[in-house]
């Protein structure tokens, strides 16, 4: 039994205890049926680590790398499916990590400036996936669509174990690297003078990003990964005053988006991934409008 199923065993009584208080007709099943419990636990784990990672991505101006690596993961999934793998996520993980390392090296060696290397990998790997599926597989089946737009039904026991292992390891690494990451992001030269291994930190960060993105693909879908990776962190930036408080706000916005998104999608039978992304974007819009209005009315002198 893997770590994911162990966590599920731990929280499942708690979820069942909460279930009677949960509103809606279908939504309570997320707290009672094991299949949906798996999905809920995976969604919560993924959202938590995505929030921390996203906060760092945002300040490193790497908001789109998640999108790029998610498309790369899709290419990996496609290759895995065609080769008949029982768990194509492993292929996605290998593709994503290797691509992240190459993108990182291309950027630090300044072979290509800015986002160009991300763009090349994004389109190249997506195309590989599509071509491979057309030629050797059955094209875009419902399973494949699940990887593109997220499908909670895809999260079997094996997936949950992989997702839980990735998220927990990533969360621990991000916390251990917290100060180093902040330091190298804000002033890389000063960090280097202090003796921090700037390049190694960047490389490890890229690998963590690649792994986390793979863990998110089933929950929210390759095309929508950015919604949980960047949107909650961006919303938090509107509210928080320090980096630490931004991290906490990111969790609040991310988890709200997941719970509300799952609730609405369950009640209205819309896709869960799309609904979570929609709620996350709406939260951003509401906070942004509220902030502009409040700042505009309350303290014009502060708004320089």
């Amino acid at each position: 039994m893997g770590i994911g199923m162990m966590i599920l065993d731990l929280v499942s009584p708690i979820l069942e205890f909460i279930a009677p208080m949960v509103p809606g007709d279908t939504f309570p099943y997320f707290f009672t049926m094991e299949m949906f419990q798996r999905a809920l636990v995976a969604a919560i784990l993924v959202t938590m680590v995505a929030g921390v990672l996203g906060s760092f991505l945002l300040i490193r101006n790497l908001a789109l790398i998640g999108d790029g690596l998610a498309h790369v993961s899709f290419g990996g999934v496609a290759v895995g499916v065609v080769l008949g793998a029982s768990s194509p996520l492993w292929y996605a993980l290998v593709f994503s990590v290797i691509s992240a390392i190459i993108i990182h090296e291309m950027q630090t060696r300044e072979l290509l400036t800015g986002d160009a290397s991300i763009a090349i990998f994004l389109t190249g790997m997506l195309a590989l996936g599509l071509v491979v599926l057309r030629v050797f597989g059955g094209g875009i089946t419902s399973d494949i669509e699940g990887y593109l737009f997220g499908s909670l039904l895809l999260i079997d026991e094996q997936s949950l174990d992989l997702i839980a292992t990735i998220t927990i390891l990533s969360l621990i690494s991000l916390m251990a690297l917290y100060s180093g990451l902040l330091s190298t992001t804000i002033d890389p030269l000063a960090a280097r003078v202090q003796g921090l291994p700037v390049r190694a930190i960047g490389l490890v960060f890229s690998i963590i990003t690649a792994a986390v993105v793979v863990s998110m693909v089933q929950v929210i879908g390759a095309l929508l990964v950015t919604a949980l990776l960047v949107t909650p962190a961006a919303t938090a930036q509107l509210v928080g005053r320090s980096f630490r408080s931004c991290l906490i706000w990111t969790q609040i916005f991310g988890l709200s988006a997941v719970f509300l998104g799952l609730y609405f999608s369950a009640e209205h039978d819309s896709g869960s991934g799309a609904m979570i992304a929609l709620v996350a974007a709406s939260l951003f819009a509401i906070v942004a409008i509220f902030k502009t209005v409040v700042l505009g009315l309350m303290s014009p002198k502060d708004n320089f």
């Binding site: 002033d187 000063a190 003078v193 005053r241």
Partner: protein, 287 residues
Amino acid sequence: MVVLNMQPLAVGQVMKQSESILDIKDLTVSRSGKVVLNKVDLAVKKGEFIGLVGPNGSGKSTLLLAILGVLKAQQGTIDIYGHKPMSRNILGKIGWVSQAAAVMPKNVRITVRELIQLGTLNSRNMFLRRRSIHREKVDRAMEMVGLEGVGDHDIARLSGGQRQRAVIGRALASEAEFILLDEPLVGIDRNSRNSLLKLLDKLCHDENKTILMVSHDLAAIRQTAHRMIYLEESIRFDGPTQEFPDLTSLAGLRGIEPVHGHEHETNISNSIMIETDNAELSKKEEE
């Protein structure tokens, strides 16, 4: 045997008093095939306040980066606290103050305290950090740069001068002894500029820090530095600030012939006078 008759004690004292912390010999650095620094010799003693000036692209930043060990020298040696640049033995002795106006990202929500805390970081304590050990250092650094009242403020909401102070605070939190500054006066209004210079002067005299500062602002740097270095590929002037040449002789050092003869010269000296006047005026305003 005659050598033994010398007074070793006196020699020792002299050595201690003017302990050399940086020794650059015959340094040549090329960047993308072009020689930027050519045979530079430079020695810095503890407690000096040195102003490094020169036109754009004259190699000032290259020299700083070479001292930090980020750029490799093609020829010559750099000896800093008796070690090579970037050596593990000198970690924490050197503080780097980047130009806040250019480097500090404006989209990051980070407080003054969070930024200054980053100064206490090194490769040994990077993963496991106990905040309490560093709190004292951070508090002291904030006090030294006069930002103790705004510790919880977002960096993005500070003025240019305060932001630069915060970056200096980061270097001080590492308890660095030798502080290198790259254009700290850019993007800062005149009043803040003067109080920033006072801060640097205080760090040099009261805290016994050694300071090497690059600046375009000749008037400002002459106000504070004890020693001036004029760099343009090689060192063209190195001496006490009061002996630093006026702009006309400087043009001579650079091999520039006056274009308009006498007329040009008076224009230049007028403009220096105006700048100095302004600096003095704002100093009075502050008091």
